[in-house]
């Protein structure tokens, strides 16, 4: 450390922060949950209508995972909507509330039904949120899917 810094270094800190506890957000967590939902819907469709115990057991597991992941997806979306986005973002993204509302509704629809089209629609809604999120950070991040 140079002489100037040694003599003049302040002993006090004044904070100019924003204080989210960690401040780490990424729509990817919602996207991964939505991909799991879509995957389960496809597996359920492929499983067919078999009524034997093995088929019923597998179907039950698939439905349970679909339910759980759709719920997780809704929760992850709410964290972004409630905690990350602020009123100031609405100026640049006027349809912000609408895209979140549509995505949350789709999470519910994926729970009440078992149709891969709903999973696909949810992923498309999350892609809009992905774009809004990274636009708000002035970063260009491509939307990718794991599957």
């Amino acid at each position: 450390m140079d002489l100037f810094s040694r003599i003049f270094r302040p002993a006090n800190v004044a904070h100019a922060h924003c204080d989210g506890p960690c401040g780490v957000y990424d729509p990817a967590s919602a996207r991964i949950a939505a991909e799991a939902v879509l995957s389960m819907e496809k597996k359920l469709a492929a499983l067919g209508d078999g009524q034997d115990l093995a088929s019923q057991n597998t179907r039950g597991r698939f439905i349970a995972i679909k339910e759980q992941q759709a719920d997780l997806c809704k929760r992850e979306l709410n964290i972004l909507w409630n905690d990350y986005f602020k009123p100031e973002h609405l100026a640049a993204i006027p349809d912000l509330h609408d895209i979140f509302w549509q995505a949350a509704k789709l999470c519910s629809k994926n729970k009440t039904e078992s149709n891969p089209e709903n999973g696909e629609a949810l992923l498309q809604a999350i892609e809009k949120i992905h774009n809004a999120y990274w636009k708000s950070k002035n970063r260009d991040v491509a939307f990718v899917r794991a599957s």
Binding site: A11, N12, A14, A16, E88
Partner: protein, 122 residues
């Protein structure tokens, strides 16, 4: 030699007396005060008057009084309550979250920045 004495006197005087030195942490006051800036705070700025809108002040976080914040005065409300906001609304927690602060709680006014370069704080 004279420079060294002046520097030492200034270094001591800005530690406890009227003027205090602060390091700014965080970006909510950038570019006026970028994170890492070193500033001098006048603790007697508001002995005879109230803070005015536009001035940058150091104030205890009302939710956590041992933590000091640096924010800009946006407006004065009835009862000598001060509404504070960071210059970067998106990267700032301020009166929009914790409401107004009493004018009497303000520690002082940020008057000068002396690093990374020197200047009067607007």
């Amino acid at each position: 030699m004279l420079l060294a004495i002046t520097a030492t006197v200034l270094a001591i005087n800005t530690q406890a007396g009227r003027f205090m030195r602060f390091a700014v942490a965080g970006q909510s006051m950038s570019p006026a005060l970028p994170g890492g800036a070193w500033v001098i705070v006048d603790r007697r700025a508001y002995l005879r008057r109230l803070p005015a809108p536009g001035e940058i002040v150091v104030v205890p976080d009302p939710r956590q009084p041992r933590r000091l914040l640096v924010k800009r005065v946006r407006s004065l409300e009835p009862g000598d309550a001060v509404w504070l906001e960071g210059d970067n609304a998106l990267a700032s927690t301020d009166s929009r979250t914790f409401g107004t602060v009493p004018a009497s709680s303000i520690l002082g006014r940020v008057r000068w920045r002396y690093a990374p370069w020197a200047g009067t704080v607007q």
